[in-house]
């Protein structure tokens, strides 16, 4: 009833033979690094040309070479680090406070129904409050020294971290938790060994956003009685309508953002190597 034949075959029907038409491919982004660099260079060159030729008025955009000059000057005079130091420490302290409080509360919300019911609406209500609107209050609450700067940045990073964290806890694979219970693991073991590591990817990607917000808030934070700091530098440049310095400051912040984002990517690669 069954018949085993060799793998040689002859065509069974006649007619014109043609190759099948290819219709796949595409929809798969490929990386082309140099294009990004090229676009950057082209943009800068365009502005440089425009400002030199005069069809970009000096009121509209500064000359990129002048911005670069300002930057070099900042570096040489050591002022760069005088500004960068306080800003970085504000970022570090504020973001650390806000993010750790946010992760803590987010985990609690994720674990306890009552905490969730009580605090989620509150967090949702706090989220759309612009932090600069609260500056006058922050002065009263935390003073005009470092306190209010830390508080503002902490406050700004807190809410997105909470939201990202409890979302991450909610998304931990329930079947893993069920597995833990089925092996009689204690509640604490389940939280420590299953829930927290499982929520890690979500928490880290939330942190990416929170830190971007922290950098953005640096300017707002340094509105309040900061003598040194990138934000203060930018504000001062703005109030003096000194576009070269304004752009130099903005470029520094932008670099800072790119560096922080790269650092988190690095951490993710280390800590989340287990992801497929």
């Amino acid at each position: 009833m069954s018949d085993t034949t060799a793998a040689t075959e002859r065509p069974a029907s006649d007619g014109p033979a043609m190759e099948v038409r290819f219709r796949g491919g595409g929809f798969a982004p490929q990386s082309r690094r140099w294009v990004g660099v090229a676009v950057f260079v082209a943009l800068v060159a365009l502005v440089e040309w425009g400002t030199r030729a005069g069809w970009i008025s000096p009121l509209t955009l500064p000359r990129p070479s002048d911005v670069f000059g300002t930057f070099v000057e900042l570096w040489n005079s050591g002022l760069l680090f005088k500004h960068l130091g306080p800003s970085l420490s504000r970022l570090a302290v504020g973001a650390a406070l806000g993010a750790s409080a946010g992760v803590l509360l987010g985990v609690l919300i994720g674990l306890f129904s009552y905490v969730r019911a009580g605090l989620v609406p509150l967090v949702a209500a706090i989220f759309p409050i612009p932090k600069i609107a609260l500056l006058p209050l922050f002065v009263i609450w935390f003073g005009i020294d470092e306190g209010s700067k830390y508080a503002l940045i902490a406050f700004g990073t807190f809410t997105p971290t909470v939201v990202a964290t409890y979302g991450a806890v909610d998304n931990v694979d329930r079947s893993l938790i069920r597995m833990g219970q089925s092996f009689g693991l204690s509640w604490l073991s389940i939280v420590r060994k299953i829930v927290l590591p499982g929520a890690m990817p979500g928490i880290l990607s939330g942190l990416r956003i929170s830190l971007a917000i922290a950098i953005i808030l640096l300017v707002a934070a340094e509105m309040l009685g900061a003598e040194y700091g990138i934000g203060a530098y930018i504000l001062q440049a703005g109030s003096l309508y000194d576009l070269e310095r304004l752009f130099a400051g903005v470029v520094i912040l932008s670099l800072l953002g790119v560096i922080v984002s790269a650092a988190i990517a690095q951490i993710e690669r280390r800590v989340l190597g287990w992801r497929t």
Partner: protein, 255 residues
């Protein structure tokens, strides 16, 4: 319309995937491709369907596709590939729209294929409301709607539980018996292969080559569930593949 593969070879980067595959797929018959994990079955099917191009060798279609055939080489995928935002009939009309078939003509085709797959009552259901077996029947109805010359089926049943699998095999046999179609049917499951295949092509583990081609004469309609007549063929196939399957299974995946 027949299909002929001529001396196909392919590699992804440094991994040789397929070597020297020559094969004919005669019209009106179901050819099953079996082989261990990662031996290149899906890749081969994509070559046949024109979704990918082999590095060497050619895939030829011989003879013209039948009258009224909108898409000669039509896939049925393991994961159904239904658009979750379209209803059952919307998913079928998707493949008609691009051929300018709308309104009444589309309606007629859709009603016909839904009736053939016993889905007439579910025309307006969304995929999320359907069980796995019903989803795959929708995918088969969609494939039938374009009146294909060859159906390329990539493990169409392996996402389903085993009872549903049995039921769908019955359905496929009924469909084929009523109107024989040509098909290349990729599967891991030897029971499925001996149940549905007129011809079973066994591939070695990666790099895939053709080990053996087995013909089964017993007509589809006469093959039983757990058919003792087929047990022998199935055991023969398994003897041939077991060690390769184990070796393929125990490879570490490097990510």
């Amino acid at each position: 319309m027949d299909i002929r593969l001529e001396a196909i070879r392919h590699a992804y980067g440094d991994t040789e995937v397929l070597q020297d595959i020559s094969l004919a797929i005669p019209a009106g018959r179901i050819v099953c491709l079996v082989g261990p994990s990662g031996c290149g079955k899906s890749t081969l099917l994509r070559f046949i369907g024109g979704l990918e191009r082999p590095m060497e060798g050619r895939v030829l279609q011989i003879g013209a596709p039948p009258e009224g055939c909108l898409n000669p080489l039509t896939f049925v995928f393991q994961d159904f590939a239904l658009l979750p935002w379209r209803t059952v009939q919307g998913n079928i009309s998707l493949v008609l729209e691009d051929h300018g078939i709308r309104g009444k003509r589309a309606r007629a085709i859709i009603d016909d294929v839904l009736a053939r797959t016993r889905l007439s009552d579910f025309a307006s259901a969304l995929p999320k409301q359907l069980s796995g077996g019903m989803k795959q029947r929708v995918a088969i109805a969609r494939a039938l709607a374009v009146n294909p010359a060859v159906m390329l089926m990539d493990e169409p049943l392996s996402a389903l539980d085993s009872q549903t699998r049995e039921l769908l095999m019955d359905d496929l046999i009924t469909l084929w018996t009523r109107q024989p179609f040509t098909s290349v049917y990729v599967t891991h499951n030897l029971a499925e292969a001996v149940r549905l295949g007129h011809r079973i092509v066994v591939l070695s583990r990666r790099p895939g080559r053709i080990c053996e081609v087995v013909e089964i004469e017993k007509p589809l309609a006469e093959r039983l569930y757990a058919d003792p007549d087929l047990d022998e063929v199935q055991r023969h196939l398994w003897e041939m593949m077991r060690d390769e399957a184990r070796a393929a299974e125990e490879e570490l995946i490097d990510v």
